[in-house]
């Protein structure tokens, strides 16, 4: 007891054996002790061993800018951490589902994705078929929405327990998009790996590809060139811009504020076209590879990009000020779907959702990586935690991202962009944290003696935040659900993997 967690910085790797396996009591003690400070749980997952399962925990310490790692071996069950540490609840459900290891005392042990177990032979139930929390009473009614929705969106099932128009409980059941990516990544990297990464969540292509490239680079002990880092940063901010603008436009659509909805839909496309200007693909597919980027920008491209950026920024400014200046919009957003800071912290929210509730959580400034080591990005927070706060944080981040992209393009000088194939070192472990546009993306990878992936764990920000949406709906009007949902703008496939 008393030993600290193994400390690791972003873009660093360790020999696998440095993460010593401790007994469960100490594991628990280390995690709870670290989480008592300014830290949150970035990942908690199982890795199969010859006998039993090894649990790894990654805790991000935002004050010291480092991560803490701990590991323990468990058999068929272990005492659940959730009662003492609610942010572990979704992770423990995942561990139970994937490896059949039961967290004893977990208050709500149900499948997360309804995926086939990766160990043992228990048959999974079809997605959505499980017990739901329910209320009873003459005037209580249950509303089930999905998995097929009225809009062209991904599948997910929502179960509302309502008393009149008021939602008392929302249960979110996902897993319809499960593809088994994590299992497929074991034994890699191979030619498929990067494509899995780029499509973990299609709208976060740059985010996940950055996290993966960074993981492989750390395992190999190499850093990409400065130019490549700048271009990655530019692509990441363009991705943030496109998605934030699209999200605000969709929120405007949900409250029937048409001007902003119409313009933002178009402006989002304009921003995606800027990404296409760099690499030929609107989502940045094929742009990032471990070791660098696949295409550069010549001075002509840079000046064209800057010119188009001016136009796009002006349009976005007009469309979004219109929205934030309209009293009817503010009246609709303020006080809707509030997540108090304490709730956000205890359930371990990340990204825009956390920042809107006043938690300063931004990997770019707290555990900086790539270009953010040299050019810091301010953390944009708001205090109220409602739909307005989430919209407003996005709006401020849009303004910051425009400035950042313009700044970086100015410092870009066109040298070569060779991407040499990069191979991970043998027997090493790394944690790669990236601030995608939704929030913290965490990739944990370890290699065997041959330099192949022993395991590869992906935690999309949506995995942390879906439960935040459920909390935001408590006591709200059911008619406000679409707005709340859009204000979080979470990924189904990023969660389902």
């Amino acid at each position: 007891m008393g030993e600290a967690m193994v400390r690791l910085y972003n873009e660093e790797s360790l020999p696998l054996e440095v993460v010593s396996v401790v007994d469960f009591e100490q594991f628990r003690h280390l995690i709870l002790g670290t989480l008592a400070g300014e830290a949150h749980l970035s990942a908690l997952f199982g890795v199969p061993q010859d006998r039993g399962v090894r649990l790894y925990a990654v805790v991000s310490d935002t004050v010291h800018g480092s991560m803490g790692l701990a590991a323990t071996d468990v058999g068929d069950s272990f005492p659940s951490l959730t009662p003492a540490c609610p942010q572990a609840h979704w992770f423990e459900r995942e561990i139970f589902e994937q490896w059949g290891v039961r967290p004893e005392g977990h208050p709500w042990l149900k499948p997360v994705r309804f995926q086939p177990p990766r160990r043992g032979t228990t048959a999974p139930s079809p997605p959505g078929v499980t017990d739901y929390f329910s209320m009873e009473g003459e005037e209580v009614h249950e509303v089930a929405v999905g998995p097929v929705h009225a809009g062209v969106i991904e599948p997910g099932h929502f179960r509302f327990q309502c008393y009149g128009e008021t939602v008392h409980h929302l249960e979110i059941s996902l897993g319809y998009q499960h593809r088994g990516v994590e299992a497929k990544l074991v034994g890699g990297p191979d030619r498929r790996t990067i494509h899995y990464m780029e499509t973990l969540a299609g709208d976060t292509t740059i985010g996940h590809a950055t996290a993966y490239s960074q993981a492989v680079e750390s395992l190999a002990g190499r850093r990409p060139t400065m130019t490549a880092q700048i271009l990655r940063g530019v692509a990441a901010e363009l991705e943030r811009l496109a998605n934030h603008i699209g999200c605000l436009g969709a929120m405007a659509g949900d409250i029937a504020f048409l001007p902003t909805r119409n313009f933002c839909g178009r402006i989002r496309g304009d921003v995606l076209n800027l990404t296409a200007l760099i690499c030929g693909n609107r989502f940045g597919r094929g742009f990032l590879r471990p070791g660098g980027v696949t295409s550069g920008m010549d001075p002509d491209q840079i000046s064209r990009m800057l010119a188009r950026l001016d136009v796009v920024e002006k349009d976005a400014e007009v469309a979004l000020s219109l929205m934030f200046d309209a009293p009817s919009v503010l009246g609709r957003l303020e006080g809707t779907g509030t997540v108090p800071a304490q709730t956000a912290a205890s359930i371990g929210m990340v990204g825009v959702g956390a920042r809107a509730s006043g938690l300063a959580r931004d990997v770019r400034s707290q555990l900086p990586y790539g270009i953010y080591r040299y050019s810091s990005v301010p953390v944009c927070t708001y205090t109220t935690g409602d739909c307005f706060a989430r919209a407003y944080v996005r709006w401020v981040e849009i303004q910051r991202s425009f400035a950042f992209v313009r700044d970086q393009l100015g410092s870009l000088n066109g040298d070569g962009f060779p991407v040499k194939p990069l191979y991970p070192g043998a027997g090493r472990l790394t944690v790669s944290l990236v601030e995608g546009w939704r929030g913290e993306i965490c990739h944990v990878a370890a290699t065997d003696a041959a330099g192949k992936f022993l395991f590869y764990k992906v935690v999309d920000p949506s995995f942390h935040n879906w439960f935040g949406l459920a909390c935001a709906l408590r006591g709200q009007q059911i008619s406000d659900f679409p707005l709340c949902n859009k204000s979080f703008d979470l990924s189904y496939c990023g969660h389902d993997l």
């Binding site: 089930a144 009225a150 949900d254 406000d480």
Partner: protein, 305 residues
């Protein structure tokens, strides 16, 4: 009043009412920086639906099938009571204002019954909202018409509107026109599922009011519902135009044109409202409707004499 001319407004409503939606749509497209759909699209939509077959859920009964037909029938009956300009309505008798208001209630009643008949949670939710809001809207509607009746000492719609246009003694009632007009406008927006009460464009069933009640209708039934919706908007808009515009003071062709123009202007106004404000939070809608009721009550109080 020459009866032979009374059929003209009815025919005009039957033909022109879907065009109101084109006007609203074009206005919104203008504000949204878009071109908008073709002007005859609402007609094409209804024609398409009328050619289609319908699918009926096994949980529904005859009530579900009667809904759209009965709804259209009641709005047609309301149309017959609606005067447009000097020619008066097709049917008119003392006290027909009560029938007029409650024909809309009948239309709502059959729509709600059909919605409840599906047994769907969404449609039940929509029905509950519709009934709640219309209970408040009806008060405002009725108070407004009562104020007009008190002003003109008439109890038939044709009589009221005729007096509003022609009798010099009611010209002292301009505040009444204004107050009742404002109140009726809010009621019109609520009754016709327009912003800021309902969002006619949304696909989100959890936020809908009127749209969600007709989710299970398809084909001919949906075509009838949409056509009835067009007529309802036309009827209420022509009532509002008759109250606000000083038409009828001269029995000429110009006065006959002024009301249809007013109706189209109202459609533009609806488009402007929908382009410049967000929808109200659902819990705020009752406040808006109560405010409309208060305006109408105020009109009743300030009626001269």
């Amino acid at each position: 009043m020459e009866r032979s001319w009374s059929a003209v407004p009815v025919l005009m409503a039957l033909v022109m009412s879907p065009f109101l939606f084109s006007v609203i749509n074009r206005t919104k497209a203008f504000f949204g920086g878009r071109r908008g759909q073709p002007l005859l699209q609402p007609y094409a939509d209804i024609a398409k639906l009328l050619r289609k077959g319908a699918v009926y859920s096994r949980t529904t009964t005859r009530v579900f099938r009667i809904g759209p037909v009965a709804g259209l029938a009641s709005v047609l009956a309301a149309l017959a009571l609606t005067p447009l300009g000097p020619s008066g309505a097709l049917v008119s008798f003392e006290g027909d204002v009560v029938l007029f208001v409650y024909l809309f209630a009948v239309m709502r009643f059959v729509t709600v019954l059909a919605a409840l008949d599906t047994g769907s949670a969404f449609e039940g939710m929509g029905a509950s909202r519709e009934v709640q809001f219309s209970a408040l809207g009806e008060v405002a509607f009725f108070l407004g018409i009562t104020a007009l009746a008190a002003l003109t000492h008439r109890t038939s719609l044709s009589g009221i509107l005729d007096a509003l246009g022609n009798s010099p003694e009611v010209h002292g009632g301009r505040p009444v026109h204004f107050l009742v007009g404002s109140s009726l406008f809010v009621v019109l927006l609520a009754e016709n599922a327009r912003l800021p009460v309902d969002d006619p464009e949304t696909h989100l069933e959890l936020t809908m009011i009127h749209e969600v009640m007709v989710l299970d209708h398809g084909g001919v039934d949906l075509g009838l519902i949409q056509y009835a919706g067009c007529l309802k908007l036309w009827v209420m808009a022509s009532l509002l135009a008759g109250v606000v515009l000083p038409a009828g003071s001269v029995h000429t062709v110009a006065s006959a044109a002024i009301l249809p123009a007013g109706i189209l202007a109202l459609a533009v106004l609806i488009g402007v409202v929908e382009s410049t404000m967000a929808r109200l939070r659902l819990v705020m809608v009752p406040q808006l409707l109560v405010a409309a009721g208060v305006l109408a009550l105020l009109a009743l109080i300030v009626v001269p004499g």
